[in-house]
Structure formats: C-alpha cells, structure tokens
Symmetry: C2
Amino acid sequence: MTMAERNRRIVLAARPEGEPKASDFRLVEADVPMPAEGQLLLRTLWLSLDPYMRGRMSAAKSYAEPVAIGEVMVGGTVCEVVESRNTKFRTGEIVLAYTGWQDYALSDGAGLRKLDPAEAPVSTALGVLGMPGMTAYTGLLNIGQPKPDETVVVAAAAGPVGSLVAQIAKIKGCRVVGIAGGAEKCRYLVEELGLDAGLDHRAGGLGDRLAKACPKGIDVYFENVGGAVWDAVFPLLNMFARVPVCGVVAHYNDQALPPGPDRMSLLMRNVLFKRLTLRGFIVSDFAAQAADFRREVGGWLKEGRIKYREDVVHGLEKAPEAFIGLLIGRNFGKRLVKLR
Amino acid sequence: MTMAERNRRIVLAARPEGEPKASDFRLVEADVPMPAEGQLLLRTLWLSLDPYMRGRMSAAKSYAEPVAIGEVMVGGTVCEVVESRNTKFRTGEIVLAYTGWQDYALSDGAGLRKLDPAEAPVSTALGVLGMPGMTAYTGLLNIGQPKPDETVVVAAAAGPVGSLVAQIAKIKGCRVVGIAGGAEKCRYLVEELGLDAGLDHRAGGLGDRLAKACPKGIDVYFENVGGAVWDAVFPLLNMFARVPVCGVVAHYNDQALPPGPDRMSLLMRNVLFKRLTLRGFIVSDFAAQAADFRREVGGWLKEGRIKYREDVVHGLEKAPEAFIGLLIGRNFGKRLVKLR
C-alpha cells in the first residue's frame, strides 16, 4: 500500500423505487484508515454480489437493518490482511469478512474466518463453500428433505444457490429439473451438471414443459424466484411436497400486487389438501450446521461430484451495474467482483 | 333386534354445488344384514359429523375417494356388537368403527377398537379422545410447536378440534386467543376454558381486536377456517411463526376465486421474510402417535385439566340438517348424532 492510495467506497445514494439504477449508488473516496491497537487493516480481494442486498437498499424491514443513505453498501468479502495490530492475525493472511463494497476496511478480528488457499480457491468462500452454498445445503436438506427417486425442481438453477441444490439432489438420488433463463444456461444444467432436464423460463409454455419434465409430479421445489415460475410449479406439487422458500427475486422490485383473482385461498386449500409444507428460511437459521456443510460439500467438491461456476466482474466501480444485472438474471454462476 | 327392523341409511343423492342442501341426501331403507362366519353385526349408537365429510361429497380428489352417488355417507361411529360370528368380539361390546350414516353395518373386525365405558363416556371416542382430539394434539405439537409465553391463536376455538388445541396451548404455558362465532362461544372460551381472550369473528373489526389481543404478535396460528379470519391473522404473524393448516372450512363451498388483487406473491414474500412455516396435515399423517395422544390427553381429561363439550342431535334422520349447520358454525362443541 502506498500512502497516496485512497479507499474507494460505493455508498447508497438513494433508495430505489422498483429496479435499482446506477444513480442509486455513488462512488466516493476516503483516506485509507489506520488500524488502532488490536485492529487489522483489510484490503478487499473479492466482493460478493447477492440478491439479498436489494432488501438492504429499501427502508422496509427485511432480514436486517437497511443500509443508511450515504453508508457503504454491505456485502461479504475475501480480504488480505495488509496491516495487523492484532496478535491473532498476520500480514498476508486471507480472511472471509463482511466489509462491503470498498477497497479497505478496519476490523477488530471479530467474525473473520481465515482461509487456506491450498484448500480451495479463496473466492469459493463467497460461493459454493460460502453463504450461497450453505443456503443450498441447509435449505434443501432441512426443509426439502429429498428422498431417492423423488422429483426435485430448482428455480434459478444455474445460479450459485440453485446449482448446488440441484447437484446435491442428484447425489441424493432424485430426478432433478432445473429452471433457468436462456438456452445456454439450460444446456449447462444438463450437459455440465448432469440434471435430468433444464427448462428455459423465458421460452413460452413453461407450465406444459414442466409437466412433461416431471411425469410423476414435484416432491420438492426449491423456491428462489416466485412469479411465473412458481405459477408453473404450484399445480404440479405432489401430496406432501416440501417448498423451501429461499428467495422471491421476481418480487423484490414489486411496487404493487398484481390484479386478481386472489389466489390466497387457492394456496391455503392446496396446503391443506396436498399437505404441503412451505417454509421460508435464511442461511443463518441453520448456523449450527456450518461445520457439517463445509465438511460434506468440501468433500464432494474434492471428489469432483459437484461443480461450480463463477461470473467475475473486474473492478469495484463495476459493482453497481453488475448488481443491477444480477437481479434480472444476467449472471451465469456466482457473481463476484474482483478488486485490483 | 326384532326381525321386522329395517336398516335406515342416508345416502348421497347428489353432489352439492356450493353449500350442501337437504336434497343432496336421501334416507333409504334396507334389510338389516346378516353376519356371515367371521363377521359382526354392529348397531350404531353415535355418529360423528365432521367438516371433512364435505370433501367426500364432491367428485374432486380430496384426502380420499369421494362417496359415490347412491352410497351411504361415510363417518366415524360408536357401535354396539349385536351379533358376533367372530371369536374376537362378543355381543354387547362397544367399538369405535367407521360404518357411516346408517343404523346397522357388518364388519369383519378389521379396524375396530374396543371401548371401555368405565374409562370414559364412549362418545368421547369420536371427539376429545378420538379423531378431532388427535387432530388437535398432533397438529399443534408437531407443527405448531408452542413454547412457553408464545402467543397461540386458534380458529374455530369452540369446536372439538380448536377447543383442545387451545387448552393444550394453555397447558404448554402460552397466551391463547380463541376465535369463534358469537358472544356465547366467546364467553365459553374465556370463562370455561380459561383462554386469555375470545374474539367473535361475526362482530366487526376483527383485525383490530385481534391485534389488541395479541400485543406481542402471533407465534402459532392453528388454521381451521381460512377466509376473513386468516386475513386478520396473516399480518400479525411473527418471525418464525408456525401455521398448522387443519381446515379451511370457509372455502369448502367455494365455487370461484374471489376478486383481486392477487395476494399469492404477498404470501410468498411473507413466508420468506418472516421465515414462516405453513404446513397442511390430516390426523392420519401422525397415526404413529395415537398411543401417546390417548395416554396424554386421557390423563389431562382425568385430571380435569381439559374440558370438552358435545352438541348432540337425536335421530339419524336429523344428520343431514345437522351436518349442513356444522359447515356454517351452528354447532357448539363436538356435533354428534345419537341414534336410538
């Protein structure tokens, strides 16, 4: 680090109405902060972009406090320790942190996890071996509870959560149908990940194609999307189907409810008559399973039984555009920002 | 039994459109059947009337096969063995059976359970110690999972399922709010059953009154009703709330969806953001817990910790009218038909 270097930070400039736009973000510069006794200076190597960040941009209560206007956007990061005044960390160590959309940040070491680059590429700590991977693993196994020969349908199946859900369901012996946007992603689902079918939700007639791909109905639906994908899945759910609700990205930008008829009672009738389980979750609900997750998914990764894909954008200044694209499915794999 | 006696049977005459009416049923007479070797002749003492029977009257697939036109309406019964050609049963024994809306039926003994009149009134085998009781016990404990000091709201709380749900929730140390139709039932909930509040869904402003009765929100909602009651409960659900869906009696007669806006996405967003669990069930899903149920609820009953109420109609010929009334909340307690 040269003394002349500046800390670039992307702050929330305005709360979006509907889809976020570039002007909702602002790049500002500040001095690189100096660590006090007990602190570390962290330099961001990788920034994770994830759909949940849309919720943090709104004033409405979501999982966590909203980001304040003028504050740095939050986010998971992989950082290098560039200066340490904390005896537990040494310069040059790589850590998983939550320092947000900026080049540098201070830390007192709390909540950091050291990463071993010899074990796996450090960027995987933000993807397949990180929050998205654990979301997939815990949501599918705790709520979805897939059994051999059952049919599992996964929304956003080419994304970091969906692609792992789909592959774990294959490992568990299920028929697995992935839904994604575009022919290229669907080809990837079948040819690279080995799913039984990959359906493009942008092509017409999703309901009919899904029914054909699921001749025995749907036992587990991993919900990442909502909207038209859910509408196609819902009539095909089997008795005792389980629906882990992980995301409804189609609705994050909604500003009003769609016109009727009102299907609330239709849903409740189906929950009853088909004895469905719908359950929402976020990864922290299963925090106690972190060690199991890393051991089991780490093992599958080493054995070559699961694959992952990263979608890397270069440069912090590209983060807003990359994030806006993520919300409309422009990513293909785990979207990461690689900093200098 | 005199040889001249006839077997009166109530058969399904027509499939109802919307609310069932008297002409959807027909009383027919047949000979009293004669048991063959290995069979019993059962005489009905008590017939249970339950909301699920509405589903059996429709051609649409529900839990079980619909009753065919011209067939005897199905239903749980308490019967006396009046003739036995089966070594396992003696004349005069009382059994729990499923012989439907008729005076007499044959059985080979399969599925019968002998009842001991010294243990509890035999009619309770159709109510608090029977299917409705076990529905309450298993649904509340397995899906609702009430914890001390949580707030539990129970729909149809003066009915056989709801009143036991409410009382078990009190035993578990919860704040319990019951919803029922009419001031008399609401008074019963508070004064007889000891609930913290009883709210009349027929009076106006249920949402506001419910919010006042649940100052800390709702952790468990036992759904028996749907419709306006669910609409009042839904916005008050807390983070991690659980909703056992046991019935949606407000919708059993629905013939079309209500007008919009469409709240499907609103529900899914809330499932996600509040990490709700919605799960439908019927009592047979937890059949393995029958012994636990009878031991535990039987114990509470003997200790006087739970109360029950029966709403008895006299004469098989009254069953259709009594059933039609049940679907619109005219019962106060477990509705039973006492036969001769």
